[in-house]
Each structure stands twice: as C-alpha cells, then as structure tokens.
C-alpha cells in the first residue's frame, strides 16, 4: 500500500518542549523551596560529619552555654550541643516526614483509587475516611501515638493514619475525573481487565494532584512530629528530634531562648521550603497554568 504522504520531505525533528524538570526549576517558588528544603535536608543527611559534638553526650561543665565560638548555637541543660542535636533531629524529622508522605501515598492512594473506580466500594471506604477526618488530625495522631507507645515507627504509623483521609480524597477526586475520559473506554474496548484499566490507564493520569498533596503532607508531618515530640509522645528521649529540643528548652525560654529557637527556625524553614515546592509542583503539573509560568 502506498503511504499517502511519502513524498513530503520529513520535517526536522522538532525541538523538544521543555520537560517537567526544567519547567520546575524555572518556577521561582519551586526554586526557592528546593533551595531551603535542600539546604536543611543536606545538613540533616550529613549530620554525622557536620555535627561538631556527640548529640547525646552530657557534659555538666558546659550547661546552658549561650552561643559562642565553640557551641555555635549554645547548649542545653545537660550541656549537649544544640547544633549537633538539631542536625541529628533534622534527620529524624525528615525520616518521619518522608515515611508519612510515602505511606499515606501508598495507602491513601490505594483507598482513593479503589473508591473512585468501583462505585460499590466508594460509599463504605469514604465513610470510614470521613469518620477519621472527624477528628482533628493532630489530636488523632497524639491519641494513636500514645496508644502505640513511643517509637519512631509508631509516630510514622500514627501520623499516616491521621493523614490518610486527605490523600484518599485527593486520589479519589482525580480518579473520578479520569475514569470518564474516552481513552478509558478505549482501554476497555481493547480487552483490558478492570484492574489493568485502573493501574495503567487511570492512575498515571490521576497522579499529579497526589504528588502535590504529598509535599504538603510531608510538611504537615514534620510539623506534627514536632508537636508529638513536644508533648512527649514522639520518639523517646534521648533521640534528638526537632520538637523534642523545643520541648527541652520550654522551661528555660526566658534564660536560654537559644535552645528552642534553633530547632524552631529549622522547622519553619523545612515547612516553608516544602510548601513552596508544593506550589511549584502544582503549577508545573497543572496544564491550565502551564502557559502562565513562562
């Protein structure tokens, strides 16, 4: 069979449209967010090398030292270096934040996808989510963490349960939209099974809002972990956590404000950075806003 347009010379390969990554980098708020978050995260990751002192070692001769050239951010009531503790605390907080973001994405994503795709599952699943949503997330996490006992893993589990309903809702909304697209009917028409239609055709097209949502969940989890640690139901002492260090300084806020100040500023930077990144991601992944970015 003759190819109709064979005689037409082939156009030169078109310049590739800017990919998602370069579009993200070009986005100012994503760039600033990445800078802030990246800075804090790298410090946390390199805590073992960067920390000048052992974060756990008590030294009663150096109690309540204000910031000086040896202890850049001062020491606490046991003479532990705040900088070293904060650096290690970042590690714990980010591990918990990432764990919660991934776990809620997995569980909430699955629940939301199933609820959105199979109408029969929708009612029961989402009523359970609504019931969870009825409690303030932090309150629920405190109760769960207290019930499960203090450990890093339990904090991740407790926070994940508390934040799963948000993720599930976002995922369900995305699936509800995408499953009506004609290409989903097209996938059925070539004999794809329902599970395959959902996993291969619906989910990849419904992921974008979830990705954005999970950056906010990450930030919320970092904040919530600080709250739990502050209240004493976070990872058990002497594990340095950002919330734990703030709690340590609470009784001495007048005399030694540097104890609470340093981890407090770090939490603010992490959360700000993550939120800015989330905004950037949202703009980059939303095709309706795409032209507005340039």
């Amino acid at each position: 069979m003759a190819v109709a347009e064979a005689a037409v010379p082939m156009p030169a390969k078109r310049a590739k449209p800017p990919g998602a990554i370069s579009r993200l980098i070009a986005h100012p708020s994503f760039r600033w967010g990445l800078l802030l978050f990246g800075l804090v995260a790298v410090c946390g990751l390199l805590a073992d090398w960067l920390a000048p002192f052992d974060p756990l070692r008590n030294n009663f001769r150096t109690r309540f030292r204000p910031p000086d050239e040896t202890f850049w951010f001062g020491t606490d009531r046991f003479g532990r270096d705040i900088l070293s503790r904060t650096l290690h605390g970042i590690q714990v907080s980010l591990r918990i934040g990432l764990g919660v973001a991934l776990l809620t994405a997995l569980i909430g994503g699955l629940i939301g996808a199933v609820a959105g795709f199979w109408q029969r599952a929708d009612g029961p699943l989402m009523r359970v989510m609504d019931a969870l949503m009825a409690f303030p997330a932090v309150l629920l996490a405190i109760a769960l963490a207290a019930a499960l006992g203090p450990s890093e893993l339990n904090v991740i589990v407790a926070l994940s349960i508390a934040y799963v309903p948000r993720t599930a809702r976002v995922m369900r909304a995305g699936v509800l939209v995408v499953r009506e697209f004609p290409f989903v009917e097209g996938a059925r028409a070539i004999g794809a099974s329902p599970a395959r239609v959902l996993l291969r055709h619906v989910l990849p097209n419904a992921m974008a809002p979830l990705v954005v949502q999970q950056t906010y969940v990450f930030a919320l989890a970092v904040l919530a972990e600080a709250v739990l640690s502050f209240l004493g139901v976070g990872p058990p002492p002497p594990t340095p956590t950002l919330g734990g260090i703030i709690a340590d300084g609470r009784d001495f806020i007048q005399e030694a404000p540097w104890i609470s100040l340093t981890p407090g500023v770090v939490i603010a930077l992490v959360v700000l950075g993550l939120n800015l990144m989330g905004d950037g991601l949202r703009d980059a992944l939303d095709p309706r806003l795409r032209t507005a970015i340039r």
């Binding site: 069979m1 082939m10 004609p182 290409f183 097209g186 059925r188 070539i190 004999g191 990849p204 097209n205």
Partner: protein, 317 residues
C-alpha cells in the same frame, strides 16, 4: 451465516428503555450503517455489543457473534474477545488515546494482551500497523505521544489499535464526526480500503447520510430507540419508504436544489421517558392517523425491498 446477529435487543437504564426491538445482521466483510439522530440509540447498540454499557445500563435480547451469545458471555470471556475479534473506534480521537503513553506503547498493549508478543516484536508490529493506516514516517511517529499528532493522525492511530489483532468486526462509532471534511474523506477511504484488504465487517454508526451512501452496503435507520427502516443502502437512498427516512433524506441540502430555507422535520425527538405508546414518529409525521398511536408498528416489506416500521407504508412510499 451472518457474523453478527442481533435479535430483539433492548437496553434500559433503571426503568427507562432507551432502545428496543433492535434486530439486524452483519455478514462477514459487510459494511452496515446505523443512522439516526442523537439519542436514537445508535451508540447504545454499539456499546451493548461490546458489553461496555455505562453504569446502570442493562441489555436484553440476543447478540450472537460467531456462535457465541455475547449477552450471556462471562466478563472474562468478553475481555478476551474485545480488541481481538471485536474492535471499536470512538468518536473523539482527541481524547481516545492515553496522553501518558506513546502511540506505539498503546498499539503494543493490544498485541501483548491478545497475542502474547514480547516488547520488541510488538513495537515492530506497531510500526507496520501505523504504515497500514498510512501514517507517514511511522518509525518516528511510533515513539511520539498523542499530543504530538494531528486529529486525523490520532484517529488513524486509533484504527491501528483497533486493527492490531485483525478483528472480524469493527464497530466505528461516528469515527469522522470530530474531524474536518478533507480528513474525514481520508479516514473513510482508509476504512474502505482496510475492510477490503482485511476482509472484516464494519458496523458504522453515524448521523451523516453522506458517509452512509459513501461506504455502506446496508443501512439501519433508527428513530427514538427503534428501527424505522432497514435495507440495502441503494434502495433506501433511491426510494425511502418510511416517512422518517423520507424526511431525513429531504433535509439534506443539495447544491443543485432551490435556494431558500432548508427543509426540516417539525418538532424534536422525544426523551426516552416520554416515548409515545404507538409509532414513535407519529407526533411528527405528516401522514399520521389515529391508528398509528395504538401500538408500535411492525416492520413490513416495502415495494423497494426495504423493511419499514410504518402501517401506511404502502400508501406513503
């Protein structure tokens, strides 16, 4: 023996029947056109055959395809049939391809599903399928994403997906509606050529009578969920018997016709919930009698050899 035989097909949603008494046959390699206005039940017929009725819809009657009753077939069996023996292309080529996969991946999906091909040979076959549907530079297009293709090319790619396993029956639901006129002609030429080349039957759903006269051998004219008239395309176009078919043909604007207002059929198609008891066209029919409102008219053979659902067909034709 016919490839597909539909008998007394009825589709209802809740208590509302949107389609009833639908019967027709398609022989191997035949092109059957189903025409009607929006809401006449054309698409529901197609979806019922594919077993893809929307949520809440149920089909009754018999749909026999190659010795199998599709309505009685378990869903798993239907999944094996779809895309393999029975393929469908849709109205909206712009949205009928998955935006996150390349054209080649989507063609390969059918081949891997039904033919068990490995990734590499499926990719090769995808290229030759794109050549079959006359897409230039198929080797390059195969790795492009749907948004990089024009509307006409996307519909060609859809056809390539549908034809991947050489189905016996292709259902084309308004395949050219969303395309502009020259692209439309190209797609119809392609369908005509492929059908001859591959020997497949085509069920072409359209509201465009021009398309029907172009490539269909037989026609089913539908009105408000029932068959109005059915028969050979030549006979229906030369001498329509049912008042609705007559009115429909009279409403086609002609280049050599008189200049003035276009002829139209008065009134609108009733909604499925308000379908009249008797002949559904009676309220809009210039020839209607009180007897028309008693019950749905049966199909009767007309002088031109078609079958029309009209009690006055002898006088009207």
């Amino acid at each position: 023996m016919s490839l597909l035989s539909v008998r007394d097909l009825a589709v209802s949603f809740g208590g509302t029947r949107v389609l009833e008494d639908m019967s027709f046959d398609i022989a191997e390699g035949e092109v059957l056109g189903v025409v009607g206005e929006s809401g006449s039940g054309k698409s529901m017929t197609a979806l019922a055959i594919m077993g893809l009725l929307p949520m809440g819809g149920s089909a009754a009657g018999r749909i026999r395809f190659e010795d199998r009753d599709l309505l009685a077939l378990p869903e798993r069996e239907m999944q094996r049939l779809r895309g393999e023996r029975l393929a469908m292309i849709f109205q909206e080529p712009m949205a009928s391809l998955n935006p996150v996969f390349t054209v080649g991946e989507q063609i390969a999906e059918v081949l891997r599903r039904h033919r068990g091909m490995d990734r590499r040979s499926a990719h090769r076959e995808a290229i030759s399928l794109l050549k079959l549907v006359e897409i230039a530079a198929a080797e390059r297009r195969v790795d492009e994403y749907p948004h990089q293709l024009s509307g006409g090319m996307r519909q060609r790619a859809m056809i390539a997906i549908a034809l991947a396993c050489r189905p016996k029956l292709l259902i084309a639901d308004e395949p050219t509606t969303a395309l502009d006129a020259t692209v439309q002609a190209g797609i119809l030429d392609l369908l005509r050529g492929l059908r001859r080349e591959l020997g497949m039957a085509v069920l072409l759903i359209t509201h465009d009578l021009g398309v029907v006269s172009d490539i269909c051998e037989r026609v089913v004219v539908m009105y408000a969920g029932r068959v109005a008239e059915t028969g050979a395309a030549d006979a229906i176009f030369a001498r329509p018997s049912h008042p609705y078919t007559q009115a429909l043909l009279a409403a086609i604007p002609r280049l050599d016709g008189p200049i003035g207002a276009l002829p139209a059929i008065g009134g609108v198609v009733p909604a499925p919930a308000d379908f009249p008891q008797g002949c559904r066209f009676a309220p809009r029919c210039p020839h209607a009698l009180p007897a028309c409102e008693v019950g749905p008219p049966a199909l009767r053979t007309t002088v031109s050899g078609t079958d029309a659902a009209c009690i006055r067909v002898q006088e009207v034709a």
